[in-house]
Symmetry: C2
Subunit: 478 residues, 2 copies
Amino acid sequence: MAEKEENIGITVKKEDDMPEWYSQVCQKAELADTSSIKGFMVIRPNGYGIWENIQDYFNKVIRERKVRNAYFPLLIPESFFKKEAEHAEGFAPELAWVGGAAEEGEERLAIRPTSETIMYDSYSKWIRSYRDLPLRINQWCNVLRWEVKQTKVFLRTREFLWQEGHCVYETEEECDKEVYMFLDEYKRLAEEQLAVPVLTGKKTEKEKFAGAKYTTTIEAFMPDGKALQCGTSHNLGQGFAEGFGIRYIGKDEKEHIPWQNSWGFSTRLIGAIIMTHGDNKGMVMPPRIAKDKIVIVPILFDKTKKEVLKKADELEKKLSEYGVIVDDREGYSPGWKYNEWEMKGVPLRLEVGPKDIEKKHVVVVRRDNGKKEFVKEADLIKRIPKIIDEMHGDMFAKAKKHLDESIVEVKSWEEFEKVVKENKIAKAPFCGEGECEDWIKDKSGGITSRCVAEGKPKDKCVQCGKKAEEFVYFSKSY
Amino acid sequence: MAEKEENIGITVKKEDDMPEWYSQVCQKAELADTSSIKGFMVIRPNGYGIWENIQDYFNKVIRERKVRNAYFPLLIPESFFKKEAEHAEGFAPELAWVGGAAEEGEERLAIRPTSETIMYDSYSKWIRSYRDLPLRINQWCNVLRWEVKQTKVFLRTREFLWQEGHCVYETEEECDKEVYMFLDEYKRLAEEQLAVPVLTGKKTEKEKFAGAKYTTTIEAFMPDGKALQCGTSHNLGQGFAEGFGIRYIGKDEKEHIPWQNSWGFSTRLIGAIIMTHGDNKGMVMPPRIAKDKIVIVPILFDKTKKEVLKKADELEKKLSEYGVIVDDREGYSPGWKYNEWEMKGVPLRLEVGPKDIEKKHVVVVRRDNGKKEFVKEADLIKRIPKIIDEMHGDMFAKAKKHLDESIVEVKSWEEFEKVVKENKIAKAPFCGEGECEDWIKDKSGGITSRCVAEGKPKDKCVQCGKKAEEFVYFSKSY
């Protein structure tokens, strides 16, 4: 039997060595692979299935919001980047240039790191009048940023997949409103689908998107005490519209410059899921977003095999809307199969053997806490969605508890240093200045701001002692 | 009112100048735009919606066939192309090279023109034993081929979107079987979803995919007498497996080389739809694949406006599964709105005014033939899917008639020349040799083989007079 040599689980503990644990889970649960090309990843079907379900869910959300999907070119002419100065400067170091066009004596082309410029070139042709606004377009695509830092599948790779929404409005008010509307949808996706709690708020001036008026973010907090930026929604102001000549004739018959926002999340979300929920047995898929929510393991004996397999097929059909795998492979013991599917993180395991058939029940085992339940066959259709909701709720609550308990309000630099050293989040009074933030990063060994928190501080800036404009969350980060 | 200046329809007739007609339909129905970058296109929401529905449909099909989606890197190292000699030669002229890696003193990287090589590099790591087979993976992605020919949105662009399926099997028989299984699914997609009839069969040796043992194809035939290759399914033999070192240990405990196939269709399908079904009023969307199948135009008078808008909303909710647009814009006449939605090709128009409400019916107008029907409100839910099926059937039948009537069996070179000059398809006895096919292309001013037809010819090869191995379809093509 091949089982012994193949069935090797995760060999380090999550709490002991999270980076190594993460690599092993990605590899062994077949979520993603490093590629032969430095800095690139292969997203395997187990990982890509999560992305597909995120896409399905989010496409429904944005369709409701009157956003439509489209597709814009992969390559962007050099001159386009120069039309918005801050944007150009922000992305310049990460661009990959393509040879083809240069050889024809034409302008240099870069692979898109984000699509503001190429999209707004088209927008300037499409938008004529207030009747064309608001314009709300989204695209799902690959982007390339030539990272020089150490790469890690899902978290930091030179190529990743994402969605980028790009909207145009008549007024600042509408634009602002929808920046936060999309941010709220991101929070809902993270919390209600992925069971990943997030902090939300504005980025500081220093951390905002290159070319934006302001940036808002959802920030998750990993078990190792590092924050992970999981999605951003920007008010771009009128700078891009000016650069690309986007104008509209208003109801007043005069020409106006419109307002724009953009918002995106990426396959990095899958990394957040793995780190938040995975355990020392491997991956744990949040049940609402898992493509295959159920694995059925028939318990096979020679005498009753036929009957048990028939029952497994019957259950598969009955539950097909949840995505069901029937593991009827020969030559593997049930225990071996349990380990394999636990490694892969399938949310629910259904065990069915001759005795279960006799008793007209099925054994349902939750992946997150191993809780076993005997469910009457007749109740299955009603009980499964409830178990899924309970499991989601428990997974979210556990992660939320960690996040809530990690936030510590600090008043002094000493407190600040202590809190972030303990892998927690310092909620600190902050002056808001870029220079001060640079100092904080330098003095603390790389701590960055995550986002502005609620509340109005009475104390002075934790670092420079100037007037504190707001509370800001600071922590280690990915 | 803005209507007069904006409401300019297609200014040439399809039958008079199809290339110009095609460009205008793409532009004015907002299906796609040329881009500021030479040879690239922007797929606008009206066009992209078709692609999304094709994806939804086809994802269901391949999931049934146990194919799973994944994502592989955009960039491919130069050395990978060299592992299969014919493949490398076939794609060399069309590659776009990226600067980034070269600057780091590493190997040159090309943007994928197709993903055999990058995927099989991973496959060689993943496949160990017969237990890992069959392996069936598909990816949806963008590919780049640096075309030097004149480009045209959807039909020939340097970048396009596609799906590429890549499967690995133990035996040649399984591999062959599924090459045709996927080809059949392509035919079903084209005919039963897009209402585009196709010829299916093997490509000649000359026209097969670079690196394949053989290629099969679905070929549509456009109203201007040019064939359009719409999807191909290849048996790749064992060449790639040998090149990339893909091996498996069989049940016999010996090492074997597996068999592989690959199969793909692209956004070119949208071009086939436009050309096949569009008319002098603009686009005609095949109803099964249209994202928005219904537009409701409320007929508004001051007195009854409120009531009519309420009814329109009610109908929208009732029919929401079909994708419904309610055009309640002020300042446009119903006639102007009819023209606009006809231009955009929405399959069904529902008109509802005060008199219709009184009579408890709705006016349903088909886009393809303008047929008007008064449908009792109570019957709407039952009648709409039937109208959609009838419309699909009529659109398919019309295109099928054109295809069938265009095929002419020829025996001599004179007949051959006459038939292709008349923009028809010559079904010709052919020797099968690449050299002879080159002569045919030269002598006829660019006619190429489309695929092998059924039947065994008694006559000699139409060009060289040698023994004819098979009938082959020849025609002009895109």
